[in-house]
Amino acid sequence: MIVGMITGQSVAVEADAPAQLGATDQRTASGRPRGAARAASRRRADGRGPWGRSGPADKRGAFGRSSAPARSAGGRVATGRRDPGAGARGRGLWRGDKRLGASGPRIPVTVCSRVFAVLLFAGLLLVTDAVPAGAGTPRRGGTLTLANRADPPAGFDTMFTSSIALHHVGGALFGPGNLVKRSRDDFYTVAPYLALRWEHTPDFKEWTFVLRSDVYWHDGTRLTAADVKFWLDLVFFGVRSGQRVRPPAYFARELGDAVAVEIPDPRRVRITFSHRNAHFLQILANPRFKIAHPRHLMEPRIEAGDVMVSPLDVGLVGVGPFRIERYRRGSLVRVERFDRYFERDRYGNRLPHLNRIDYVTMPDPFAMDMAFRGGRLDGGARGQGHFLSSERVAAYERELGDAVFFARSDGGNFRLAFNVLNEGPWQDSRVRRAIALWIDKPAAIPAALGGFGWTTPSIGPGDIDVPTEFINWPRYDTAPLEIRRAEARRLMEEAGYGDGFTMGHLTRAIMPEGGEFLKAQLAGLGVDLELQIVDEGEWNRARVSLDYDSQQGRLTPSPIPEGTESVYGRYEENPDAYSKHDDRTLDALYRQLRDSVTMEQRIEVWRRLSRYLFYEQSYIVPVAESIDVVPYRADVRGLVVPPEDMHTHTDFATVWLER
């Protein structure tokens, strides 16, 4: 198997037939000059942590980030990394080795029986210590109950929404990837999923994937190359039937300019691009790009004219480790183990381990906290507003002690983005730059990000070897805040807005703190931010519209620079872009990025691109990178937590319960 890096020659890659975790995920082809896995290990070796960002404290701002796993307010917080003994403990996360909940039978209260009871109890303890109480082999069975932030939107269609409310559930139903996935052992390594192996032409214009033969849809139909071609056609080209049009997937442009998808033989799929697409594999390994579209069920509907048929319309049939058992709109998604799922764990056991997962819809984080602390949930919801703040973590710990652990992951970028397609002062780049200079970014971490976060000017691309001093904020604006603010005032005067102006600001009702923070910040510059506080439904509508002047939120882009075009690119190409602009310079820069072959080229282009985007034009003002914290009960084992992007590893296939 090969991942990531590019040698400029035709490369054939292969993985072991059974997709055993760990073994296949981490091997890389020999002779590779630089690969993501190698870069990751190099970063680990030079002490900068797995994602190469743990620079000196003075470069990390007041709330600088370190790679230590436990950094919450006195709390144990698990990151995506494992301790060396994790394998022996059944793929569990690092969280100490304390045993929980040992209980014995009720002992009769007499003198003799007390002595006997003590001996018996000691014996039981020895036995439970010797035989795996969750320490070794994963246990099969049980029901995991998780909170889900909202009802999955868009008919569970992964082509039209990246909502975490869908993807938290979607991983179990549709699997952790598509043809490829992000490795469970190393997030920055691409691993095979539905494809066994792949190859590309030396010019990177043609990519061919060889599919596994043991993948079944949940209704028992075998997955074929025709199914994958159907999915790729929908992604790249959409469908037209008479006057009805199904647009391509929102991420189509990110994947490249495909011109054809062919099936050379029943197990192969070939994708041809018009331009070089050197990083296609890494872009494709985005966990949002799930195959939720069974050809044998959807094609007849589309041919009948129902081009917008959704996965929900055809019964939520996927290829993931769990299949749908019950869906009650607005309250519950229940999935049960799919016995013909093809993945196995490192011990050769079939995945998944759990019998069932219940996703209980809980739009209110407070209700989730109460339910978790009351013992009704095994895990929290993923998503902004539901991720825990430092105060909530402290409350969980006080109440639950060792019975809870916290999965921590680098989250989305909290940023202010402008809609420059709407008329207003913010169309002037000097005004946008002034706003960027004015905001006290480290202050956002306690005020708007719940106390967990770090400042960054960028997306923090995970597997690109960007020097730490480039990533950490402030780098573009190294002057003290007072000097930056004086410059901001000068720019506002120069632009003719010295007296300030009013700007609409789209804010999600579930997390108004960000809007409140920015409003208070910008008041000093004379910018009156009019908060338009909207619920999730309205947010999902408005964010893809031009009905606002600016917006703020925490969205997670792809961990690689090439995968960010759909969020930083033009509105015309993706209505869900953070900033609404029509700047074709960014098209050209992304084209250059896609054409770059060596890491040095990628870094150089990415620097130019991010400087143009965040500094010269300031279409987007990155404020801070959040750290997402999700609570889980201590007896939830085998959970794989990605170091960034909570959309990843939502399949829960490796999870088991120590009960």
């Binding site: 984080p365 407070f366 703040s389 105060e391 909530r392 402290a394 409350a395 006080r398 202050a443 306690p446 005020a447 009702a509 108004p512 703190e513 809007g515 409140e516 923070f517 409003k519 208070a520 910040q521 008041a523 908060l531 506080i533």
Partner: protein, 282 residues
């Protein structure tokens, strides 16, 4: 103070303090209620910040004072609207009788059939969250109650003989209702409206707590309770408890004063107030 209980005096003092605080918040609030200072976040009550600070480092006392403005203004507006419309409906309904009375009563039944929160949701969502929308929602839910009380009070008056005399002098319906029926039926209505003020303050807090009241970052008591209880209750209980205490004291005081007013009015009319229904004394 003869004849006035200690409780009523205390309630009056509380209301005076709260109303004074709300009126003169600009002068007496120690900080700008919207000013954030993350280095001062979640400070416990102390000399500088008497009520402590919230998650943004904002002064809780200042926000409580400014929040009183919103709560009291919304409560007054909603009671005025509900009182005006409800009294007019109730009196005319009692005076006219017949089909008009029947139609008004069925309309009131329909309004009354909507639970308060459902009604409030509909109104606030239709008008988008704002103090005006909150006041409208509360007024709409109080209106049927006020109309019922007004009609009941008027029914006991419309059969009085002096009204026959009024009519005999050629007075029109409007004059009869508002010059002769209203003053006679007024005391119980006024007492009820006074009690409604407390209900309205509580309702405003409820709606704000649910996120349907004044939008952030502006302060209102309900919103402060929401922010404090959901995010910081374990870490900083004062963010919730102190505004909560002020809210509770205000509502109780309004009810106590309203009750007292009602008794006084009954006495002024020479009527004996009905005894409270309860367990008979042994």
């Amino acid at each position: 103070m003869r004849g006035v209980g200690v409780g009523v005096v205390l309630a009056g003092v509380v209301l005076l303090v709260v109303a004074g605080g709300a009126l003169f918040a600009d002068l007496i609030a120690p900080f700008d209620p919207l000013e954030q200072a993350v280095d001062r976040r979640l400070l416990p009550p102390g000399r500088k910040h008497l009520f402590g600070t919230d998650g943004f480092g904002r002064d809780v006392l200042s926000r409580t004072l400014y929040g009183a403005r919103v709560s009291i203004a919304v409560a007054l507006a909603s009671v005025l609207v509900a009182g005006g419309a409800g009294v007019a409906l109730g009196l005319t309904s009692a005076y006219a009788g017949g089909r008009y009375d029947l139609m008004v009563q069925r309309g009131i039944d329909v309004l009354h059939g909507f639970p308060f929160l459902v009604m409030a949701l509909i109104v606030v969502v239709a008008l988008s969250p704002s103090p005006a929308a909150t006041a409208a929602a509360i007024a709409l839910s109080l209106l049927p109650l006020v109309a019922r009380v007004a009609r009941g009070a008027a029914l006991s008056v419309v059969e009085e003989e002096y009204l026959l005399a009024v009519r005999a002098t050629g007075a029109g319906a409007a004059r009869t209702v508002f010059r002769h029926v209203l003053p006679a039926a007024g005391p119980p209505i006024a007492a009820y409206l006074a009690a409604c003020l407390g209900t309205a303050v509580g309702a405003e807090a409820t709606l704000s707590y649910l996120g349907l009241g004044v939008p952030p970052p502006y302060a209102s008591w309900g919103r402060m309770l929401r922010e404090g209880s959901r995010a910081y209750f374990d870490a900083a209980p004062w963010v919730t408890l102190l505004p909560g205490l002020v809210l509770c004291a205000t509502v109780v005081s309004l009810i106590v004063v309203g009750d007292r007013l009602g008794r006084r009015r009954y006495r002024a009319c020479g009527e004996r107030r009905p005894q409270r229904v309860g367990r008979p004394r042994q």
